[in-house]
């Protein structure tokens, strides 16, 4: 039994405590920000643009560094140890607003890449996993296409499959549907809904309130790097406690 690096590591798969981050010459992106996520939970993070939602997400897998505070994912502390950082990234899949597929590789190669390099799978093993993932996200017929030949919705579904290729325990979605044409948002949300139903732990930054309300267990509303209000999804939407929350919800609903 590995020793717990944090007393609550047993309980929470993500522990983010007292995070602070200031971008040079700007306001605080994260201001004593604390969020903990249980295994299997779907947490939606909402807030006005520039409130620090994306920064929080990107700090969780070490794409950005916090100035102070502690991040622990699945009992692995995110610290100066490069090994820990890589371990956490294996356990955390991330989906970006701009898809960020590798344009010089086919869809199949995009999804095979990390399996072969990080998990040291053979090409054959990787391809088998990739095919089943593509089946799951509904783009099995595009395996040998290059990303440029795919629609935005298809690209994002491939990106989700790619993020799932290392069998992560946590998935982060950074405004995954914001760059999509309206008619393609649904197909991506469907994939995310399926994932949530399978019990995947998810942290989702989104403006899709319908999706948030339907799929998430908990909502975190943040502004200026701080939590304004956080709570169970149903209570959050039906009876928000803060005036600011009310204003925000009125604006976007």
């Amino acid at each position: 039994m590995t020793p717990m690096v944090h007393p609550e590591s047993e309980q929470y798969i993500i522990i983010a405590e007292h995070l602070n981050k200031i971008y040079p010459g700007s306001i605080k992106a994260l201001d004593d920000f604390t969020v903990k996520v249980k295994k299997g939970e779907v947490v939606v993070v909402i807030g006005p643009s520039g409130s620090g939602k994306s920064t929080f997400l990107r700090c969780l897998n070490g794409l950005e560094e916090v100035d102070s505070g502690q991040i622990i994912v699945d009992n692995i502390p995110l610290d100066d140890n490069e090994k820990h950082r890589l371990e956490i990234r294996r356990e955390v899949g991330m989906v970006f607003q701009a898809f960020n597929l590798f344009p010089h590789m086919t869809v199949l190669e995009n999804i095979n890449l990390a399996q072969q390099l990080v998990r040291k799978a053979s090409r054959k093993e990787a391809t088998a996993v990739t095919r089943s993932l593509l089946e799951k996200v509904g783009v099995a017929n595009k395996a040998d296409s290059y990303p440029e030949a795919l629609s935005g919705g298809q690209q994002q579904r491939v990106a989700i499959a790619r993020a799932l290729a290392l069998m992560p325990k946590v998935m982060l979605f950074d405004e995954a549907t914001s760059a999509l044409d309206p008619e393609m948002i649904g197909e991506v949300l469907d994939v995310m809904r399926d994932l949530a139903a399978e019990g995947m732990t998810m942290v989702v930054v989104t403006h899709e309130m319908g999706f948030a309300r339907e799929v998430s267990d908990r909502v975190v509303f943040m502004e200026d790097g701080r939590i304004v209000e956080a709570g169970d999804t149903e209570a959050f939407f039906s009876a928000p406690q803060q005036e600011r929350t009310n204003d925000f919800l009125r604006q976007i609903l």
């Binding site: 794409l63 890589l86 990234r89 960020n100 590798f102 890449l113 990080v118 290059y146 440029e148």
Partner: protein, 263 residues
């Protein structure tokens, strides 16, 4: 797509081209008449190659071409290596690495290649105990490497941040990210400017004749000193350089066509 041109325009272009070509030939002929130059084109082929008893024997110009090709091919690889290492150093987190790269770039790009060749040949070669050929290769690859590094750096920085983030979020190491995600995309983008640099290298290699490396240019000079066929030999030498550089351009165009850039 180039704009389509009418038949009339094409005729006009062809006539224009022929006129300029005739004028150039006429100028050369007039110049050679003025200095009472006597042409000996028939003598030229044997400096390229001869055939004795069905056996092919390379003449001095072809031997020189061989040396030029050896120097440029080795220098190309070394220049690519220096260029890549310098580009990575300049973008590295290490201040010392960045400083070394910066000094190298500034020194090389702000001094004449000829001076660098002399410096390496007269100062460094005796110290390092290296021959003329190695000195020539070192000088050329250091020189072109500096320019290549700026091209490579521009190519790498042109790759969007999202590509790094996607690769990193998949748990790829920095090395794997460079090798599999960033460089393959960057190389495709920098192929055209890098080709121009390779063509410069071929042309600049003529300067190594100054340290008595028997390359194409040096062989040409030697033949001229013996035969006084100045015009014929320089025309021939120029044609050979032109042939190599155009072949290289053609090859790269072919590569670009078969490995299309994907956005």
């Amino acid at each position: 797509m180039k704009p389509s041109r009418s038949r009339k325009q094409i005729y006009r272009d062809v006539i224009g081209f022929l006129a300029i070509a005739c004028l150039s030939v006429w100028l050369v002929m007039r110049g050679s008449d003025n200095i009472a130059y006597s042409w000996h084109w028939k003598q030229v082929p044997r400096y390229l190659f001869q055939i004795y008893d069905g056996e092919f024997i390379a003449g001095p110009l072809l031997l020189g071409l061989g040396v030029t090709l050896q120097i440029t091919v080795v220098s190309l690889f070394l220049a690519g290596f220096f260029g890549l290492v310098t580009a990575l150093l300049r973008m590295s987190a290490s201040p010392v690495g960045r400083l070394i790269a910066w000094i190298y770039l500034e020194v090389i790009r702000n001094t004449p290649l000829l001076v660098q060749i002399f410096f390496l040949y007269f100062v460094m070669a005796p110290i390092l105990d290296i021959g003329r050929f190695a000195t020539a290769v070192l000088a050329l690859s250091l020189f072109e490497g500096a320019y290549a590094s700026e091209i490579i750096r521009a190519g790498i920085t042109s790759i969007s941040k999202g590509q790094w983030e996607a690769a990193h979020s998949l748990g790829l190491s920095h090395y794997d990210t460079y090798r599999r995600v960033i460089l393959p995309q960057a190389i495709r983008r920098i192929l055209p400017p890098l080709t121009s640099q390779a063509i410069s290298l071929i042309k600049d290699s003529a300067l190594v004749s100054t340290i008595a490396v028997y390359d194409l240019t040096m062989e040409g000079r030697t033949i001229i000193a013996e035969t006084f066929m100045t015009f014929e030999i320089w025309f021939t030498v120029a044609a050979i350089y032109l042939f190599i550089t155009l072949t290289l351009s053609g090859f790269v165009s072919f590569l670009e066509k078969y490995f299309p850039q994907r956005a």
